[in-house]
Amino acid sequence: MGEILKGTKDEWEVVIGLEVHAQVLAGSKLFSGATAEFGAEPNSQVSFVDAAMPGMLPVLNEESVRQAVRTGLAVNAIINLRSVFARKNYFYPDLPQGYQISQYELPIVGEGAVEIDLPDGGGKTIGIERLHLEQDAGKSLHDLHPTKSYIDLNRSGVTLMEIVSKPDMSSADEAVAYIAKLRSILRYIGACDGNMQNGSMRADVNVSVRNPGDKLGTRCEIKNVNSLRFVRQAINFEARRQIEILENGDIIDQETRLYDPDRDETRLMRSKEDAHDYRYFPDPDLLPLDLEQSYVDELKADLPELPDIRKKRFVADYGLSVYDASVLVAERDTGDYFDSVAKNRDPKQVANWITGELFGHLKKNDLTLKEAPVSAKKLGELIDLITNNTISGRTAKEVFEKMWRTGSDANEIVESEGLKQITDAGAIEIIVDKIIAENPKNADEVRGGNSKAIGWFVGQVMQATAGKANPKAVNELLRNKLKD
């Protein structure tokens, strides 16, 4: 059950469907050999096909097809063994052909489903309507000259997958969770880098509202939203806008809108009357795409372990909480890292180290896991030193800090800095005895029943041993000696 919004008169439900455009990591563009990297000099990655020079013809990039099929399989969808590329006709300067090659009636991937994880710990299944391949357009730059527009065709023809959900989401939280899950899946299988900032993932958000239980209301489509935060804000604004209109007794016009993050509002882009007639028809330059079932089967067998399955495994095999498991599987690298450290170690302890120290350091230094100076192997060795009582947990944090800065092994640091914990009970006892003798007043307090005061003694012993005494041993000794 989604959230209920209260208007001034009524209660409302929001219905959300998403069209996510994901740029496919395919080496080259969908129908040309030009590369598709982000951030190159304008118009430096443009083939004759991308510029729609006369007589040029599209040739399908096989890697794009492979990635689309893998993505379809990863969202548990039907793979259509026959799909057809169609032309979507409209005029715009950054669309050189005057049409976008897309898929219309027969997309490469049909219905599927994605499980999302909600902030309250719950989950929900979001249906996938279809996934199709299409060309991206170029980029128009209107702010470089007072009267002219500039066109950059680097992006023209780049492979996009459009992943269309069913209108199964009923809150901004769900929409954000859905995109996050899709992004996670895409990154797991390497079909898209999921970088929303660079535009390699963006969403068209369809929003409508209705009284609970009513049939679907008229929807508005918010185009090209490029961050999770903006998706959330756009939905919330748009739902409120529609509720206000309906509560005033007016009706919603089906229209295309734009989200303006500076003003936190959606604005009319074009109304239904101005909607293009795209005149879709099968592209006569391309044959229907026919796939063999065996090809699909091979790709399926070759998929990596996906986040949902991995999460279940982490809960079942490692005994992690669902929350910890979700956090650890969100990125494939993190899951791999955890798997490698947790082997033959205490999984809970490993999870805490990863989500605590490791994530903290990554965030502070704005690094990715791949760039982290502390590898899985090194973190494992550090945890081993705690487990075999060579160092205390507190010392381990200092050692981790030094490992991060210097890249050295835990063992090296512990050796060279003499951080080995004192586990010899005799050695600790001498120190304990000395401190008790020097502080009879405090000792009496503990003996008198103030058990909290024992903490002061622990602190003194740790200080005297520069933190190297085993805290457990110190506690035990103190309790024995200060018994009344």
Binding site: M53, P54, G55, M56, P58, V59, P93, G98, R279
Partner: protein, 490 residues
């Protein structure tokens, strides 16, 4: 000996024997181009390039590494992109467009040693059956009516410049393109051999698109043998065209040595039209007799959906064209006519850049693809198209070739049909069905009309059976013994 009267095969043999040089041959054709300049055969002449290529060819020949068309001067329809030479598609909108790439088919010809004399005139974007829609003006047919020699006749279209140039002896052969009859109909009007290969036999890469599912390059020549020689060099698989078929190219010229004894030639009854000129009927009958005399078995067949081919074609081809021509928007190449905003720039550029016939077809095509009309027009046309193809497939159970007239009339007078698009479209009535089915077809000059104009007969073959097509065409050519020369030839 008149060098411009030589066929490609004859010239090749003389070049190989050292009797003539490519430079001599090329110079003779350049003089012929000058002598026939009033026919407006070329949009761009490349005489200097031709001479330097001819010199190279002569040197190449000395090394013994000559190509199969080494030193043979030809014309290229201005629909092909040619590196460093303007490609206009006979449209104002592509004024000044000089490609920096070479179409696959022309590259194949240059690799075989051919010499380009120039880019031939054509109907704008290959839309037309009379070569009168060209922005560069109409082409005049070198043939004249015996009784009205002053009347200027059309060469047919859209490859009108190519067909007329071959007939006028200004080129030894020419490259054309055929979408619904654009090689075969002008070949019939100009008394030359015009051949459309199976769809997918030649690469479309670098050929300016009209209707992608129909466009196919083909040769225009004076003999069937020359046609076979040219196609052999043009054809072949090209990974840059997804609709090009990966199938070996046979030695077409060698296939001419075989006869047609026992070959079954079908005569489709639906091609007998009410009100068809008597001389078209009689030349067709003549063709039937020739095949019988050559030992072929003539069979009556029925292709029941034939009458739907033309209306279907005039839905499918404009639909594809309306989309293919969207790229001519004034943004990247060709002309741009500024306007107060983007929309007006588009409107000004396309209104000024495209001629009437092109605009008409863009509007038809846009209409038939529009929401609410798509099912009734485009989708239905596609369904009919599959039925037309099925008719042909059925006929191949009983016949190996089909024999029909190429066009419903001889060449007509310039201006006669320009204000009657339907009358103009009817020119393609016999050629369009094979186009819709993607089949190879050839037009061979078979005789003269009562007023002294050439008439062609069309043969249609199974997909990729160009060998048998050439063999059948060879029989027609031999029997017709067509030796007449147009009055305005060089």
């Amino acid at each position: 000996m008149i060098l411009t009267d030589l066929t490609i095969a004859e010239a090749r043999n003389m070049l190989n024997a050292g009797d003539i040089s490519s430079v001599e041959l090329t110079e003779a054709h350049i003089r012929a181009m000058e002598a026939t300049s009033s026919l407006n055969l070329f949009i761009t002449e490349t005489c200097e390039k031709a001479l330097s290529k001819a010199k190279e060819s002569d040197t190449q020949r000395l090394s013994g590494n000559q190509g199969k068309l080494e030193g043979i001067p030809i014309g290229v329809k201005d629909l092909f992109c040619t590196h460093g030479v303007m490609a206009s598609a006979a449209s104002k909108i592509l004024t000044g467009f000089t490609p920096c790439y070479e179409s696959t088919v022309t590259k194949n010809l240059w690799d075989a040693g051919a010499v380009m004399l120039g880019k031939t005139n054509m109907d704008e974007f290959a839309m037309g059956s009379s070569n009168e829609t060209s922005y560069y003006g109409p082409v005049t047919n070198p043939w004249q009516r015996a009784n009205e020699p002053k009347v200027k006749l059309v060469p047919g279209g859209s490859s009108g410049g190519s067909a007329a140039a071959v007939a006028a002896r200004t080129v030894m052969g020419a490259l054309g393109t055929d979408t619904g009859g654009s090689i075969r109909q002008p070949a019939s009007f100009c008394g030359v051999v015009g051949m459309k290969p199976t769809y997918g036999r030649c690469s479309r890469w670098g050929m300016i698109a009209f209707a992608s599912s129909l466009d196919q390059a083909g040769p225009l020549t004076r003999t069937v043998r020359d046609s076979a020689i040219m196609l052999e060099e043009m054809a072949g698989y090209d990974a840059k065209d997804s609709t090009c078929v990966d199938i070996g190219v046979p030695e077409y010229e060698a296939s001419l040595e075989k006869d047609v004894k026992g070959v079954r030639v079908g005569v489709p009854k639906e091609y007998f039209l009410e009100g068809m000129p008597e001389e078209i009927r009689s030349i067709w009958d003549q063709g039937i007799t020739w095949f019988k005399e050559a030992g072929a078995e003539v069979v009556d067949v029925s292709l029941p959906h034939t009458k739907y081919a033309l209306p279907t074609y005039y839905i499918v081809a404009p639909a594809e064209a309306s989309s293919n021509l969207a790229r001519y928007d004034g943004v990247r190449y060709g002309i741009r006519i500024e306007g107060k905003d983007l929309q007006e720039m588009y409107e000004n550029t396309r209104a000024e850049g495209f001629g009437r016939e092109v605009r008409r077809r863009i509007m038809i095509g846009t209409y038939v693809l529009s929401a609410g009309y798509y099912d009734a027009y485009y989708l239905k046309a596609q369904k009919v198209r599959t039925k037309i193809a099925a008719d042909f497939r059925n006929s191949w159970k009983t016949v190996d070739l089909l024999l029909t007239p190429t066009a419903p009339s001889a060449a007509f007078v310039q201006g006669e049909k320009m204000n009657d698009p339907i009358a103009m479209y009817l020119n393609d009535i016999f050629t369009v069905p094979a186009s819709m089915a993607g089949l190879p077809a050839i037009s061979v000059p078979a005789g003269l009309s009562s007023d002294g104009l050439p008439l062609g007969l069309q043969l249609i073959a199974k997909p990729f059976d160009e060998e048998l097509l050439f063999r059948g065409a060879g029989i027609l050519e031999l029997a017709a013994n067509f030796k007449e020369k147009p009055t305005l030839a060089a």
